[in-house]
């Protein structure tokens, strides 16, 4: 007897709130043009810190994105998440009326690596500056890592499986994989992704301990992975949410299947053990390809993790070749995040958004600020490159040691 065909997880909506665009259109335009928006940090109370450059989301107006009460009740990372979820649901043409018909069929999963730091710092200041009675009631729900998933679920009435992976950067891909598995297990729609807001004074002080952090103060030179001038990464805020939906559900309601989450795997090789990440990343790629039923040669583009630490860049370049063989030296590789920074768990979700858009437009966006690549990689630099793209591989590694790989197919991904 033949097995029933497994439910496939499709991307039907994209919502982006990124340093280079607070709509999917602007994000894609800036991304494909290779515009870098890295700049000096301007958020209040941060100017004196020895971390000078980041990707700030400056074109985001919280009062116009979320209801007034959330400005008092939640942190900036949740404002981003609610706004991105709205954009993704609109993009997927999923209305409140539709989701209300079957609330248990819609779930939410986010990755969160830094929580509501700005909100938390304000309440800590109340507590230690004035006394415990000055801590407000919303601290209990605004700072913690689960805030965004909870608020999206409540605000939109979603009662499906709700989850939070409080992970390092790679957690962004793990959250999408979590959504794909929930779909395979029977949930119709998952709103999945990550947003972060780590650019508050105390949060920045916390990040100063990362030896991989770039403290270079020239925005054009601060984050240049795969070059001899690589000096670490710059952080970013913002992120993206996607609508991950059962292909059958999308077909039923006539929504276009923009891409398929075809394969994923995660491995672990230890915090800051970048040389070892070669093996871990290669293993993750192999398992993800196997799950996707995808041969190495089918990969048309790789969105690299691109940490910007020489040892880590070398490990990634080698891992791509280890896993893809000779094709690894030929496949175009890109890292658009050099133009916006690494928003921790949100970084690979933005890459997935960019990968879907790249496949749709047949255009590989470039890697801003990067020239003179010193690894054996075909890194797309300077300007976008036209190419027929049917399958993309997105890679991510985290500062705490996770490696993750995700294979995306254009559209329903049916073999031609």
């Amino acid at each position: 007897m033949s097995q029933p065909r497994p439910r496939r997880a499709a991307v039907t909506g994209i919502g982006v709130v990124a340093p280079n665009g607070t709509s999917t259109e602007t994000f894609w335009k800036s991304t494909q043009e290779g515009i870098s928006v890295l700049d000096r940090i301007t958020r209040e109370g941060c100017e004196h810190l020895p971390l000078r450059v980041a990707g700030e989301v400056r074109n985001f107006d919280p009062p116009s994105a979320v209801e007034e009460r959330y400005l008092v009740q939640t942190d900036r990372f949740t404002h981003f998440a609610m706004a991105a979820a709205d954009l993704a649901l609109d993009d997927a043409r999923l209305s409140r009326a539709e989701t209300d018909e079957a609330p248990f069929s819609v779930g939410v999963v986010t990755a969160a690596g830094s929580g509501g730091g700005e909100f938390g710092q304000r309440e800590l200041q109340q507590l230690w500056g004035k006394g415990s009675r000055f801590v407000g009631p919303y601290q209990s729900i605004a700072w913690f890592y689960a805030a965004s998933t909870g608020q999206i679920s409540i605000r939109r009435g979603f009662k499906g499986p709700c989850g939070v992976v409080a992970s390092d950067e790679a957690g962004g891909l793990d959250a999408l994989a979590h959504a794909a598995r929930a779909v395979r297990r029977g949930t119709d729609v998952m709103v999945a992704g990550a947003t972060e807001a780590p650019l508050a004074p105390y949060s920045m002080v916390c990040q100063l301990g990362y030896e991989e952090l770039s403290t270079v103060d020239d925005p054009a030179r601060a984050y240049r992975p795969f070059t001899a001038a690589a000096c670490g990464f710059v952080p970013a805020e913002g992120g993206a949410m996607l609508v991950v939906e059962a292909e059958s559900s999308a077909r039923e309601r006539g929504a276009p299947v923009r891409a398929t989450l075809a394969g994923h795997a995660a491995t672990f090789t230890g915090a800051s053990r970048w040389t070892q990440s070669r093996e871990g990343l290669a293993e993750a790629i192999r398992v993800a390809l196997r799950e996707a039923g995808c041969a190495p040669e089918e990969i048309d583009v790789v969105f690299a993790d691109a940490l910007g630490v020489p040892e880590a860049d070398r490990a990634e370049a080698l891992a791509i070749t280890d896993a893809l063989g000779a094709h690894g030296g030929r496949v175009p590789v890109t890292a658009p995040k050099t133009g916006v920074g690494r928003g921790y768990g949100a970084a690979p979700v933005l890459d997935v958004a960019a990968a879907v858009l790249a496949m749709e437009h047949g255009l590989i966006p470039p890697t801003p600020n990067v020239f003179d690549v010193c690894h054996d990689l075909d890194l797309v630099t300077a300007r976008a490159r036209a190419a027929e793209l049917r399958t993309a591989l997105v890679l991510s590694r985290g500062l705490m040691g996770s490696n993750s790989a995700l294979v995306l197919r254009l559209g329903a991904g049916d073999a031609s």
């Binding site: 209040e44 800590l124 230690w128 006394g131 415990s132 009675r133 009631p137 989850g163 672990f268 996770s402």
Partner: protein, 422 residues
């Protein structure tokens, strides 16, 4: 073919009992570990009581470097992890490391260190533009919640899927649930799972004060946590960590491992109602229970014990009583349902895993732990809450449920090892 998932090792750091034997001794004798806060001066707080662990990391094998580097909640996880791995008899040196995963939960992660260092860099809450030169050397590790799973994975050389789960007060149940699905779906053969939290710090106590969720029974800490009792008035903060070794059943049987029980079902749903509020109907928790029962291929009447979330807030205990009645029907009245939070407090993200360990031990000993301090029935909570004294009972399937801020409603079912069916 469905892959089944066995529990083959457990380890625990809980208030009043470090290690599984001491923990079970506390629970089965109905002793409480709640007391006045000693970690800091709690004067000025509304709730000044907690269930603290008397935990000496050095005595439990952690070296000075580990103690300096790791936050208290990670120390709990390391110590509980050692116990669980030892208990499982697993020889990690012969396991394929890519097939060993880690899934650990925490609600508030490194808050205690984040707060301590905050006081330094802000000069006691004076400055918004904090002074980074005052920060300690391990602050970045406290900032990143993934440090929890990462540190445990490094210690046990796990190289498979490693994740930290943070869904508020269901983090522990969800971490175990994710580990269960990870093995069931074939992404790992072994998963080190559980949860840890050490939230007894001024900011966390103050934020629960602000919403009056914690009990102000400061004059009688030992009897302060009163789940299901008519006089309950909030939860008592706790801390602790629990780790379980989950293993694909055939993998466990092939090496002759002792199988405590199987994880037979797990589900979670959102209530989409309120970040902290619960409905009196418990529909969404009921849905989680039904879904978990479906995975376990069990009827509600097969449940022999319900390990309640039982936090001791007015709304929670009413909510889950309704959810259990909705799913177990008339059988709910014949099913003991108890809350160990009456004894070990509510350690936020950790407690779900601590409760799963309690369930595994209940199955092993065929004893239901009691609800300590339960004296006065509440008409709205009319089930059998196992007042004060543990009870022997034939247990085959036990259910553990939890609710978390954010609306999370989760359910895990553990079952005695069943005969393998073809």
């Amino acid at each position: 073919m469905t892959r089944r998932v066995a529990v083959t090792g457990i380890g625990i750091v809980a208030p009043g009992g470090i290690g599984a034997p001491a923990f079970w001794d506390l629970l089965s004798n109905g002793r409480t570990a709640t007391r006045g806060i000693t970690f800091f001066d709690p004067s000025g707080l509304r709730s000044r009581i907690a269930a603290e662990c008397d935990f000496d990391p050095g005595a439990h094998g952690l070296d000075a470097e580990q103690v300096a580097r790791c936050d208290r909640y990670i120390q709990f996880a390391l110590v509980a992890g050692e116990e669980a791995i030892r208990d499982s008899g697993l020889d990690l040196a012969v396991e394929n490391p890519w097939r060993v995963g880690v899934s650990l939960g925490t609600a508030v992660g490194g808050t205690t260190r984040l707060e301590n260092d905050y006081v330094l860099v802000s000069h006691g809450g004076e400055r918004w533009d904090v002074d980074h030169r005052e920060a300690g050397p391990h602050l970045h590790r406290a900032f990143a919640p993934s440090t929890l799973a990462s540190t445990v994975a490094e210690r046990f050389e796990a190289r498979g899927p490693v994740q930290t789960v943070s869904t508020g007060c269901t983090s522990g149940l969800d971490a175990v649930g994710y580990a269960f699905h990870t093995i069931e779906e074939g992404r790992a053969d072994v998963c080190i799972t559980g949860a840890s939290d050490s939230p007894i710090s001024p900011i966390t106590m103050a934020c629960f004060d602000a919403i009056k969720a914690t009990s102000p029974n400061n004059d009688d800490p030992a009897h302060a946590s009163r789940p299901f009792d008519a006089d309950r008035n909030g939860f008592v903060m706790g801390e602790g960590g629990a780790v379980l070794v989950l293993e694909e059943l055939d993998h466990a049987l092939a090496r002759g491992a002792h199988v405590y029980c199987e994880v037979s079902g797990y589900a979670t749903f959102g209530n989409a109602y309120h970040m902290t509020g619960l409905t009196s109907e418990g529909l969404e928790m009921a849905r989680a229970i039904e879904d978990a029962l479906g995975q376990a291929r069990l009827d509600g009447t097969a449940i022999d014990y319900v390990n309640a979330h039982g936090s001791g807030t007015k709304q929670n205990d009413r909510h889950e009583t309704a959810a259990v009645k909705r799913t177990l029907g008339a059988h709910a009245y014949d099913t003991p349902m108890s809350s160990i939070k009456s004894m070990v407090g509510h350690s936020l993200g950790a407690i779900g895993a601590i409760e799963v360990v309690a369930c595994a031990l209940a199955l092993t000993h065929q004893v239901v732990p009691p609800t300590a301090n339960y004296e006065t029935p509440d008409p709205e909570c009319d089930l059998d809450y196992v007042p004060r004294v543990a009870r022997e009972r034939r247990l085959n399937n036990v259910l553990s449920v939890g609710s978390g801020f954010g609306g999370f409603q989760s359910a895990v079912i553990l079952s005695r090892p069943r005969e393998k069916t073809p």
